[in-house]
Subunit: 340 residues, 3 copies
């Protein structure tokens, strides 16, 4: 139970209405008495009016609302912070589960917690207050920082370096071999991948995301990067600080992505290219070459009813030919025109 | 060994030919004597004639075939049921493997089976006849129904609710945090994800598919949904009953998908939109906005030889300009035309 | 430490300059004294000139370089082989970790190594010198060949057959059920998937890749195939020898892919089609129908600044209509033209 004034003391904002206590944060639709909810703009105003919450965080005072209001510039950030207060992340308990397999020469900080059936291989280091949940595997000589949270069944390959305050979700694989093959006339030969993965601090990595180790140099994820689920990061990719990437995106080898980019879901980014800082790529983009200017980019052809799609795609296949036909018409008709 | 008449008694159909015994179901190409196979239409008729099976299930009697025939409206469904009879799913044996780690306050039904190196965390509940295979992790307070089959190395996060007769394949992750981040001026702050995942009955979930928990409210998968491999379901998505989704599809946050939809592979569906009931999305669709009418939808530009693709794409980049040129021609030439 | 002459004896090439010893392989940018690096063409020549390596492998002698040179037709392959010499893959130690759960009737070759918390189920066979790392699960009656390397937390379902020298990365799932459902009027019924997965020798499979077992017949991956991360291979797919497929590609059921194909990342290949030998599919392709001619194929519409993309896509939706307008102009204006 927190008083609204206590939340405002901690996270800012201005109180309008009674200084009640709230016990939970809810969406506009499912809030009940005792809840704090939030309104992110005018298009949610009717929902807000019907909402049963005892308090709302919003940008501007809304005289029609009956409940207490917290007026704050960024209600979403305010709510994120209240949620962190009400639902703190699990804390490491300074213990190693009896079923975990920890190599004799691994170094686990006494404040860290190692869950059931975790494997910590030879030479690995686990930092202070880090919590490693069930079934995760930490490879040889991997270095994991402090205050990290690895959920169940993460794999970290040998020699990976991960800084502090990194959260990794289940099924993520960090440090697998890059896709390096040399054609030997009749068959592929593997190019051993001897680089590592380096992950900065305050990074979050989603479920079943894969980040390959570098071929010779390292794959590098900078501080504050946010990766959603099922993202593929190939060998020697570099992702700049605070860039956020949505699910199902794939980044091919040796590409550099700038800082503060926003990359939508299902984007495919070619190898050996550079994406500048502050670029926004909408979902589904295919990016075959470097982008040097900050801005918003799109690609692809979005959904249509099948019949009209089929007719249009047929003409797409003749687009170059049609351009020539238009050129011919212009030459003959418009030229004639000006002759007359 | 089953007599054809026994299969017909159980699953319908009409026998033409001898009431032989079959011991296996095979494809048309690999069937041998003793096998039952099936023919789904005229385009497979030549294969059916060359087939060595002792019996065939098909829609209409085919006088040229030598083998016994089972005439039935839906041969594929008939075969599915025969296969279920010949190859029943593994059954829970009512035991807990000695290597499993089951919390003292978890509740495992005595008819359930818990495989080797499974972890069942505090407060979790496992229903009757449910089989949890090797290395799976069931998080705190997760509720798993009866007659479920979880293959090796599934992860179910805390508080997830899964109904009866749900099958989940290896590597699937249910209940990981949604991709919720609030920008705090210099860096992202995580928005704690306190919703859950609710999964109805008779759902099947493919290998390495990920379903995120809701931000505040729940992510909901209705009864009878079929999800293939490597699908990403973001926070607060709702998928309606009996919708089937093929592999590699990604659904962004807070989107609602109707009942009885058929969604192809590699489809990208934007967040905060509604897909109506009975919509078919062909593979590779990009869906940026709501679809309200049942029907078949397509998008994208399919494969071409590189040279012609490159020429056509070049003109696509000038399509708006070309439209203006055509408009100009129309204005000048056709107008002139009508003047004459 | 290897002398250049020893490397040349083993892997070919011609020495120009001093026969020094090298202790490591590095990229051009990070090489220091004692390193061998390589130059793959003229566009890297300036980097090569600034490089601190003591020796370089390259195609043609470069008089301006100060370091020793190894002149060889394929420097990348040469480097791959030197790396394999300096960084040999981990070797099986002929032991079973005490925490592994190995069924009494599983057969593990005495030269094989089974890591911590591995599960080997009943009837499985593990060949000579094969190394199975932590947390991997090998299902009932699966047959694994010799000299394989399975990284941590792979899942191999029952009855899978894997030949020799196969490397599989973490999170890969081999043999999960294909997506087989028959509509039973009100709901889906599962079609039991009784085929297997067969994997040839010298195959490498990336992290979190999924390969489904066949419905009735088998899914087949031929010798020498290379699969990157997060690839989905559906039931009954056949992939020909030495085909290499980049990450995030999905192949739908019953499709056959030829030998020696090069398939880019994020490609979607429809079901029940044939891709001929020696086909190159660029990244992001959508392939709805068979391709019978060797060659390079592309599809899709690559990235553009949002504003011009939106204008062009708008016209794409009217492309069929515009074609008719152009046809009309041709008929009226050009016909008139020829009349004159």
């Amino acid at each position: 139970m927190y008083k609204l004034s206590a939340l405002i003391n901690a996270f800012g904002g201005e109180l309008r209405g009674e200084d009640i206590e709230i016990s939970a944060v809810s969406s506009l639709d499912s809030a009940v008495a005792g809840c704090l909810s939030f309104c992110l703009g005018n298009k949610f105003l009717n929902q807000a009016k019907a909402c049963q919450a005892s308090a709302l965080a919003l940008r501007e005072f809304e005289p029609e609302l009956q409940c207490s209001q917290i007026i704050i510039k960024d209600p979403q950030l305010f709510i994120a912070r209240v949620l962190s207060l009400l639902h703190p992340a699990p804390k490491a308990q300074g213990k190693i589960h009896h079923s975990a397999i920890v190599a004799d020469d691994a170094v686990v900080d006494p404040t860290a917690e190692i869950g059931p059936l975790v494997v910590i291989e030879s030479g690995a280091v686990i930092g202070a207050n880090t919590l490693i949940q069930a079934g995760t595997v930490i490879g040889q000589n991997a270095k994991i920082g402090a205050h990290c949270l690895f959920h169940a069944r993460v794999v970290v390959y040998a020699d990976t370096e991960i800084a502090d305050y990194v959260e990794i979700h289940s099924g993520a694989v960090i440090g697998s071999d890059g896709f390096g093959n040399a054609w030997a006339g009749q068959r592929w030969e593997k190019i051993p991948q001897i680089g590592r993965v380096q992950i900065g601090s305050h990074v979050e990595i989603g479920a079943n995301t894969t980040i390959d180790r570098g071929a010779l140099d390292n794959t590098v994820i900078a501080d504050g990067v946010r990766l959603d689920n099922q993202i593929q990061v190939a060998h020697n990719v570099k992702i700049g600080a605070h860039t956020a990437i949505a699910a199902c995106t794939g980044i091919a080898g040796s590409t550099t992505i700038g800082a503060n980019c926003l990359i939508g879901g299902g984007v495919l980014i070619a190898g050996h290219i550079d994406i500048a800082d502050r670029i926004t790529l909408l979902a589904g983009n295919g990016v075959p070459s470097s982008l040097t200017e900050a801005g918003v980019y799109a690609s692809g052809v979005p959904v249509m009813p099948y019949a009209s799609w089929a007719r249009n795609v047929l003409q797409f296949r003749r687009l170059d030919e049609m351009t020539k036909r238009v050129k011919k018409i212009e030459k003959q008709c418009l030229a004639k025109d000006s002759e007359q």
